[in-house]
Amino acid sequence: MTVEQHRNGNPALLSVTGLVKDFPVGKGLFGTRGVVHAVQGVSFSLSAGETLAVVGESGCGKSTLARCVLRLLTPTAGKIMFEGIDITDAPASQLRPLRRDAAMVFQDPFGSLNPRLRAASIVGEPLREARAGSRSDIEARVRELFTEVGLNPEHLSRFPHEFSGGQRQRIGIARALALHPKLLVCDEPVSALDVSAQAQILNLLGDLRDELHLSYLFITHNLDIVRRFCDRVLVMYLGRVMETATVTELFAAPRHPYTAALLAATPIPNPRLTRARGRTPLTGDPPSPMSPPTGCPFHPRCPRAQQRCRDEVPPLTPSGGSHSFACHFPLESAASR
């Protein structure tokens, strides 16, 4: 097992190669028929201290990807290496390092906390499970975590429904931080919150990143957040990677037509800029993952599609440095604009 070196010299914390995840669907008398290819051959790596965004719309497979990385789902094919250890198929007993060093922040502040447990129990559960010390040690750590995420430790004995959405999300973050993880997988952590709470939580995540030297795998559909918060981006569509680049590269000059469409469709609260921008919206609706198109998954909606796009799946081609895209007829690069 070799620990892969990342571009900037830091060892890769997480390395995913050719990840495939299929789900059986449909109903038979005793089983199922038909398959959904939620993730089809995704590869990327994440180094320590980095924040990688996985962006896409519904059905693109980003949530499935996140769950595979944390082994909440078992991949159908491919390889996942975390801290140099192959965790793709490892049985539960060998996943202890993963459970300790990686944690998930969930999307739904209402559903991700057990409504029958008090906040203290929720935050302390990982500690108790890992037998991380005596009862008083755990209590002290729980208070510390609560304060770290900006909550008042006096409220530890309350139930989730006694907190607001933003506060519940903080509890979820405190739970994720319990065992001093290195990697946080955040699955749309602010989508279900009000605008003002979103900003608070993002600031919190940013502060924690600086103080605790965390890496993030950040799943979102919101490009604004990506721009502000993340270092690199992976754009997914229908289970495949369309483009990957640093945030600067992506926003300056997207190469994939889908990325360009996403950028153009994202509303900005500036009327002048909005009018100046203009756009041609995509036609058609996103296809269903149950019956993906042939060739490039984006071709039915792509304004630049040609016959070749229907026939061949475009491979992910690097274009110098960290910017890769999967398109037969990409947009112009920054250099040629």
Partner: protein, 356 residues
């Protein structure tokens, strides 16, 4: 619409009279835990061909205020006061039968989740036909033709075939288009869209917003767009009303409010919103959480979270008055603004130094 009314409309429009004018609307709802003061003396208006955005977070009262206009709140538990004049008619005094004919006919609404707003056991075509039958007298064949035409107009491919489809067979974007078709089929004067694109993907949302704007411009109807997304407001709306905790915080044209905001809550919202054109290291945020409307704060409901809070803010409700930029239609409900109007220079300097 009967031709007699049309001349009245034209007269009113010529005079610049708003199509739908809400004044001092207040809604109190009895809940198990007490009375929720959901909407408190809210006023706004919209003209033909205009798009008005009502922006607020959860609990701001944006949805409740619009639901109360067409009588869609549970009657027994709700107390609605104030005035809502639609095309010369006072909506709040209408009986249930009279509202039935207006709802879906002259004032149409579309909601956030098309899966639950469409009848799961009726085909799309059947639902469209039902909408037509309720408000127009038409032969069945004509109604069917109209339905197919509407489906085509909202961009559904193969509309004649789709008439037989059931809601669950369509994607989210398609269902929302069907909802829009149902809403517009009776040529309403006002379309109220309650978070109609919130549950959609960004690319689909862009399509739907363009569609709405386009269709309503052609029919010269008005749209009231309820949303929490200021970006959507910037894209589509002409005027905007910012609501907080059941009251209007700021209102005016979209340019005025988004480029020259003058209420601390609006500053906070804009500061909170990450913007694609600026990589800020850190979002400026509003601390705290929106208040419960069971026992809202005294005076200005925003005062517990406002960094510029003064004593008067806790005691008196700030009136909605003109804003510093001299634009007549731009109004703010903030004591900073009142102080400026009264004292001029001194407070103006406070406003100019304001930043989060």
């Amino acid at each position: 619409m009967p031709t007699g009314d049309r001349t009245d409309h034209q007269q009113r429009d010529a005079a610049g009279v708003p199509l739908l004018a809400v004044r001092d609307l207040s809604v109190d709802i009895d809940s198990e835990d007490g009375v929720v003061h959901a909407v408190d003396h809210v006023s706004w208006s919209v003209r033909r061909g205009e798009v008005l955005g009502i922006v607020g977070e959860s609990g701001s009262g944006k949805s409740v205020s619009c639901l109360s206009l067409v009588g869609l709140l549970p009657q027994k538990r709700t107390t609605v006061t104030g005035s809502a004049v639609f095309d010369g008619v006072e909506l709040l005094e209408r009986s249930e039968e009279q509202l039935d004919s207006i709802r879906g006919g002259q004032i149409a609404m579309i909601f956030q989740d098309p899966l639950t707003s469409l009848h799961p056991l009726m085909s799309v075509g059947a639902q469209l036909l039902e909408a037509v039958k309720l408000h127009q007298k038409m032969a069945k064949a004509d109604a069917r033709a109209l339905a197919v035409e509407m489906l085509a107009r909202v961009g559904i491919p193969d509309p004649a075939h789709r008439m037989k489809a059931y809601p669950h067979e369509l994607s989210g974007g398609m269902r929302q288009r069907v909802m829009i078709a149902m809403a517009l089929i009776n040529d309403p004067a006002v379309l109220i869209a309650d978070e109609a694109t919130t549950a959609l993907d960004v690319t689909t949302q862009a399509q739907i917003l363009d569609l709405l704007r386009d269709l309503c411009a052609r029919a010269n109807s008005a749209i009231v767009l309820i949303t929490h997304d200021l970006g959507v407001v910037a894209e589509v709306c002409d005027h905007v009303v910012v609501m907080y905790a059941g009251r209007v915080a700021e209102s005016g044209t979209v340019e005025a409010v988004l480029e020259r905001p003058s209420h601390p809550y609006t500053w906070g919202l804009l500061g909170s919103m990450p913007s694609v054109d600026a990589k800020a290291a850190r979002a400026r945020t509003i601390g705290g959480t929106p208040p419960s409307l069971l026992g809202p704060p005294s005076g200005c409901r925003f005062h517990p979270r406002c960094p510029y809070v003064m004593d008067v803010c806790r005691q008196e409700i700030p009136p909605l008055r003109g804003s510093p930029d001299g634009d007549d239609t731009h109004a703010t409900a903030c004591h900073l603004n009142v102080a400026r109007l009264r004292q001029g220079a001194e407070q103006a300097s406070v406003l100019s130094t304001v930043q989060w």
